[in-house]
Amino acid sequence: MRAVNLLPMEQRTGQSVGVGRSQGGAYAVLVLVGGLALMAFLYGEAKHQVSSRRTQVASLNEQAQQAQVAAERLAPYTSFIALRNQRMQAVETLIDSRFDWAHVMHEFGRVLPSQASISSLSGTIGAAGSSVSVAPAATSASTPLAGAGSSAATASATPPGSVPTFTLTGCATSQSTVALTLERLRLIDGVKEVTLQSSTAGSASNGGGAAVAGACSGRDASFNATVSFDPLPSAAAAASATKSVSDQTGAASATTTAAPKTSLGSGVTAR
């Protein structure tokens, strides 16, 4: 008996399922259409992004330009504030670089024992040539120190790092009082070193109020000492130090009335 294939010719073995009469062309068209649709979607999205970002860039640039214009319009205010800051800083630096002469004078009057007096006081700050001097009675100071002005032309009267040094000449009732004076001078804030140059007691033959070297009378000892201060700090450090010195000054002022009497020169007495 001979077998008979009942399947139609196009559906027999060797042909893909679903290929159909178009030989798979329909699927290919479907894939192509789908792929093109996807491409169109991606293209449209990218195009939209380009468009929106162009708009965004333009908007941002416009805003930035407006801001620049506004900033330029207000630039004089910024410059003026900078000018103010510059001047304030310059003035503050000059203030901080000053040496507190008044405080040192006050301290000398505060720490000296009552049995000692100053006949001469001279101070120098570094190379600036600044000095404090209390001349003996014989010295006339009625003429202004015209020559001293030359030191004023230096860059700074009290440059950072310079060492204030004072030289004291005075009288004391005894050598023990001289020693006490040296100890007291060390109490001045900022003093680094106190050095005795000489201390000479008067002889008995010079008694009775006769003048001796150093303008000391009788057996009083004439002494000469050097007081060195700590180097002046930089402007920034001086700013903070000014506060503490100011506080100490306030405390010292409170004790002024209780300070021992200090004789200045010949018969010049200061409280």
């Binding site: 801001a67 003026f80 004078m105 030191s151 009267a157 506060k243």
Partner: protein, 240 residues
Amino acid sequence: MTGRDRMVLIGVLVLVALGAAWMLAVSPERKQASQLSAEVSAAQTQLSSAEGKVASARAAQSQYAAAYAAVVNLGKAVPPTQEVPALIDQLAQATNEKSVNFASITSTGASSSASGVSSTFAQLPFTFTFEGSYFDLEHLFRQLTAFATPTAAGALQVDGRLLTIQSVRLAPSSNSSQPGESGAGHLTGTITATAYTLPASQGLTAGASATSPASATTPASSASSATSSTTPAAIVKVTP
């Protein structure tokens, strides 16, 4: 050609068509979008910077009145001109408060520019002579430096001319100029001090008014370049 071969060929053609569409249309647009994204970031940075400048400038504008007052106040410490009469008045007032006799004021040199931090200021050296007791003079020295002092809060208190005392000489007074004084404890104090003035290139407010700054306000950086002043020295000698 079998059916399978046709299917492969069709698939390849479809892929080629889609690839061509990607390469020719989609990819350039996406690349452009990416570039524009970078431009957006740059523009945003530029805008932020500009807005920062505007904020800073607006803050400066809001501080202008206070800054103008501060600059004018600083002008009392460092005026644009020598202002010697004001200095004399200031010293006379200080000496009256401290029972000190203001004997004389002498200009001791030509004004010169200071170097370093005070490069914008010209120096005016003076020599003052005062008469009074030791502690009166000490208080006077304190007051002379207190015309311009920093406050505890870190601000500046300006009540008068900024002076830097450079030398002090005290000597017993040879004569008592004030009636009724015995002369005991009476000292003559000779002080060499330096006052300062603003450079000639700047005014007190650099052209600014109370309501608005000058459009060409000198910048701080360029202002510091003016270091020398050829202003002649004040020739003043007063003996009250």
